[in-house]
Each structure stands twice: as C-alpha cells, then as structure tokens.
C-alpha cells in the first residue's frame, strides 16, 4: 500500500515537473543565462569572432570616467523617469472622475485606454508629425491661439525634444495607469467611506485618509511600470528623434543598442547594461518596499 502510494506520488511529481519545465526553460535561457553571460562579458575584452580576454574593470572605468555620452544618457533616463509621477497624478484624477456613478463611464474608460494597445512605432511616427514645425497640428494650434509667433521645431530643439517625447509617452501610458488605479479604487470596501461619512469626514479628508493609503499597491505598481518604461522606451526614441538632436534624447537603452549593434562594442555595452540593470533593481526594490513588500503585486512587467 505504501509502495503504491509512493509510486503514485512520484508519477505526480514527474507530471508537475513536466508541466513546469517548458516555462522554466524559457526563463533560464532568455533571462538568467543571458544575465550571467552579460556580467561575464562586461569584465572581458571580446568582439565577434575573437577569443575573450579578461579585462577586469576596464570597461567600467572607461564608462564612469571617460565617457560623457554615458552620463548624458543616464541623466536623460532620470529625466524621462520624471514623466511617471506626472502620468500617475493624471491617471489618479481620471480614475476618480470615471469611478463616479455617471452615464457613459465605460465609454470614457475605453476611450482613455485606447492609445495603450497601439504599436509604439506607429505612435512615434504619428507624434513626430504632430510636432512637425511647418505642417504639424501642435504648432498650428499654438499659433492660432496666439501663444507663439514662430513655429517651434519641437523634436529638433535641445530644449523641447525630451519633453516632447515624454508627452507622447505619457499620452500612451496614462490610460493603462488609470485602469490599474481604477481597479484599486473598486477594491476599497464601501463601508469604510460610509463610516467616514457618519463620522463627518469631509471629502478631501476621505481622500487623504482612506483612498490614498489603500491605493498604495496600485500606485506603486504604476511606479514600477513607469520605471521599466523609462529603461525600455526604445521604440519611441528610435522613431521620433533617434536620440538626437545631439544626445538630447539618448536613453541608456538606445545608447546600449548603438554601442553594441551599430558600433559592435558588445563588451562595453554589456557593462552599460549591468549598470542599467542595477539601477532598475535598486529602484524596483525601493518601490516594492514602499508598497508594502509584496513582490507578487509588482507584476505586469514585461
């Protein structure tokens, strides 16, 4: 009897592992092994077709002390990240509006979410043209309203290029953030509000004391997504500005792409990638700690 049970149990174990293995293999081969490989690569001299040689900290020294472009890209990535709080505040306001009992709320919700499934490459092309200085809609509107006299070449100007790309990024992501915050709002038990009303709490008190604290997991999920987006917004930069003018919109990820796949400096780009990954990890851990330390909630990450 015991033997039979053990046999059945081991068959079940085989079954479980058979179910798990395909998915685990994907992560092993396309997340974990590349990560380790990347770290090894960053400590070696290597170019395609040549044997690798140990390089120690050579690439890191070059990056940190001699490469201005790296620092510019790092600064730009940090600036790009500032779009996240703006998007979250907007999304929060929209979510509060849509959460009310008004007619057509599901239509509003769908319309605001609509840009999110759009292909980012197409979004970049459309916005690039909205920003055009001679025929773009944005310049036209600003000129008609008398705000500016001369058309502004948004994407070719050092002052506006970064902000312009950020506006396009916020436009696309805000609906997704709104949905996340909205689901958080709908999970707040109604009796908390009822109790607060009975206690005579004003609307803004209810917001600061009940809504905001209970929305923390949703908000930090948005923060994580925003942080990831600032590290991975390759498509938008590639189609809208190509990193220019000069280095004005160069992010770490576009810099990595250029150094590795156009300049073939794979080893150096690997070192930049390690720095990018460590930064991401630090920010994600901070956000996760602030959200209450539940890693399972920090998902939807691609």
């Amino acid at each position: 009897m015991a033997l039979l049970f053990r046999k059945k149990r081991s068959r079940e174990l085989v079954f479980i592992w058979a179910l798990l293995l395909p998915a685990l293999a994907v992560y092993l081969f396309y997340r974990v092994i590349p990560l380790v490989w990347n770290v090894v690569l960053s400590f070696s001299f290597w170019s395609p077709g040549k044997p690798a040689k140990f390089a120690g900290l050579y690439h890191y020294e070059e990056m940190l002390f001699y490469d201005d472009a790296f620092w510019v890209a790092l600064k730009n990535t940090a600036v790009f990240m500032l779009g996240t709080p703006i998007a979250i505040v907007l999304a929060m306001a929209l979510a509060l509006l849509v959460d009310q009992n008004i007619r057509g709320r599901s239509l509003y919700r769908t319309l605001i979410f609509l840009p999110y499934p759009m292909m980012i490459v197409a979004v970049g092309i459309v916005w690039r043209w909205l920003y055009n200085d001679s025929v773009g809609l944005i310049n036209y509107v600003l000129r008609s309203l008398g705000i500016i006299d001369q058309p502004i070449p948004f994407l070719e100007s050092y002052d506006f290029a970064m902000a312009s790309v950020m506006v396009a990024a916020i436009w696309q992501i805000v609906g997704f953030f709104m949905i996340i915050i909205l689901t958080g709002l709908q999970n707040i038990p109604a009796h908390l509000y009822e109790a607060a009303v009975i206690d005579g709490a004003r609307a803004h008190h209810r917001f600061w004391r009940i809504t905001l604290p209970l929305l923390r997991p949703s908000i930090f999920l948005c923060v994580i997504l925003g942080v990831i987006a600032s590290f991975t917004s390759f498509d938008l930069i590639y189609t809208m500005t190509g990193g220019g003018p000069g280095l004005a919109t160069e992010l770490l990820i576009t810099y990595i792409y250029k150094s590795s796949f156009t300049l073939s400096k794979f080893d150096y780009a690997a070192a930049v990638t390690v720095v990018m990954f460590l930064l991401f990890l630090a920010l994600a851990l901070i956000a996760n700690r602030l959200a209450g330390g539940d890693a399972g909630k920090v998902d939807i990450a691609d």
Partner: protein
C-alpha cells in the same frame, strides 16, 4: 451628486477624451486625404476622402508578407503562452518539494527586464542558429511570468470539490486542466491572449536585432523602413500606420471586458 458637479465631470472627461483621440483622428484623417502634408494651415475636416493611400501603401510595402510574418509569430507566441503559462500555473497550485524555490526563481526572473539581456540573448540566438527566423523572434516571449501568476491565482479560486469530483470520475490530471480549469478561468485566458498578442505584435527592438533579411521582416520593421525610405512625404505612411494598429486595437476592444476583469483579479490576489 449635484447637477453642477455632474456637468463639470462630464466636461473634464470630454476634454480629456478629445485630447486622447486627437492624434488618432489626425492619423485617420491624413490616411484618407493625404493633404496637409504640405499645406498650411491644415484643414480640420477631411476634404474629399478616399482610400487611395491604403492601396498605395498595400502595394508599396508588400503588406501581405509583413502581415503574415507578424501574424505567424503572434500566433505562435499566443498559443505557446496559453499552454506554457496554464501548465506552469496549474503545477504551482499543487504541493511539491522545491515549490518555494521555483516561485523564487520566477519572481527573480520577473525582476530581469528583457531589455537588460539583449546582447547575450542575441549571441545565444546566434549560437542556436536561429537568427533571422520566426522561431528566433518568438523564443524569448514564449512565456510571460505575469500570466503564470494570473493563471495560478485563477486556478486557486476553482472550488476544490469540483476537482475532487472530476478525479473520482476518472479524469486524468491533463484533462482536468484542459476541460475544467481552463473553461472556468476565462478572464485569465482572455488577459493572457490579449497581453501576449499585443506585446508580440508591437515588439520592435528584438526583431530589429534578430531580423537580417527583408523576407523575415515584421510589421513594425516594415513601418520603420518605410519611414526611412520616404520620410513624411506621403499619406501612405499614415495609411500604413492605421493598417498596422488596427489588429491589436480590434483584439483589445473585443476582449476588453474579460481583460479588465482578469487584470483586477491578478493585481489583487497576486
């Protein structure tokens, strides 16, 4: 809610919706008129709309080939995701030694953005001889951890008595998964399909790295090379943009109800 309050709410939401829809309207409008590429001031209402730019885009870029490349990859990714994620999710609802280890492994992998591994991923794909192939493009996205966790939480919500009853009826574990668990977790299935489809359909950086020949180009790559050869000189570019965006929009609009429900259950139960 007071009448004034209601009007203000609608007013703000309508303005926001107009702002969100303006770029979409603008690209649609130019794709049917092609005007105001050179005209200033631009006209707001389409004047003499026609579908000629769609015809031109269709024949200029060999749309059918691009579409089928993208579609084949997306189909492969969606089916693989459905199977791999549901299987892994179901396995994770059971008790077995090293379960904690597997969960830790998954959560750790989730903290590695794919963008942070592109260089070795490229070298690895080259070693496997899969550069410039559909399988090579699809491989890294064959499973998404978010969706595994989504399936796990949905499967855990299925009443245990149902599974016991099925076991007594003599259903095999595999049958329980496909015949009982999956039909009962429709929101998770919908979310899985939408997310994996949209991510695969819109993916740009990885195909850009892996694809070497025209024959294997996907839609985003076709769009970018179209942009590179013609710049903004033709309405066809915007007609092409519309054609490329429509499928993912369609999938989203059709499944949005289940999608939002699935996302909610995933985000709250984790």
């Amino acid at each position: 809610m007071s009448r004034f309050h209601r009007i203000v709410t609608h007013g703000i939401l309508i303005i926001v919706c107009i702002l969100m829809l303006t770029p979409i309207y603008w690209v649609l409008k130019t794709s049917v008129t092609g005007d105001n590429l050179f005209v200033y001031p631009p006209s707001i209402i389409p004047d003499d709309p026609n579908l000629f730019f769609y015809v031109e885009a269709w024949y200029t870029v060999d749309f059918v080939r691009l579409f089928f490349n993208s579609f084949a990859i997306a189909t492969l990714v969606v089916i693989a995701n459905l199977f791999l994620n549901a299987m892994a999710g179901y396995a994770l609802t059971k008790q077995f030694p090293a379960k904690g280890l597997v969960l830790t492994f998954l959560l750790m992998s989730m903290m590695i953005p794919f963008h942070a591994t592109i260089i070795p991923a490229y070298l690895l794909t080259a070693d496997l001889g899969l550069l410039n192939s559909k399988l090579g493009i699809a491989l890294p996205t064959l499973s998404h951890i978010v969706c595994i966790l989504l399936f796990k939480s949905n499967f855990e919500a299925v009443p245990n008595s149902l599974i016991q009853a099925a076991r007594i009826d003599g259903l095999s574990e595999w049958r329980i998964l496909t015949r009982i668990m999956m039909p009962l977790s429709k929101p998770a299935v919908a979310t899985n399909i939408i997310l994996s489809f949209i991510w695969s359909w819109n993916d740009f950086l990885w195909p850009l790295i892996v694809v070497r020949s025209q024959e294997q180009q996907t839609l985003p790559l076709g769009l970018v090379s179209f942009l590179a050869s013609f710049e903004d000189t033709t309405g066809s570019l915007y007609a092409f943009c519309v054609l490329v965006v429509v499928p993912s929009m369609l999938v989203f609009l059709l499944a949005q109800k289940d999608f939002i429900r699935g996302l909610t259950s995933g985000a709250t139960k984790g």
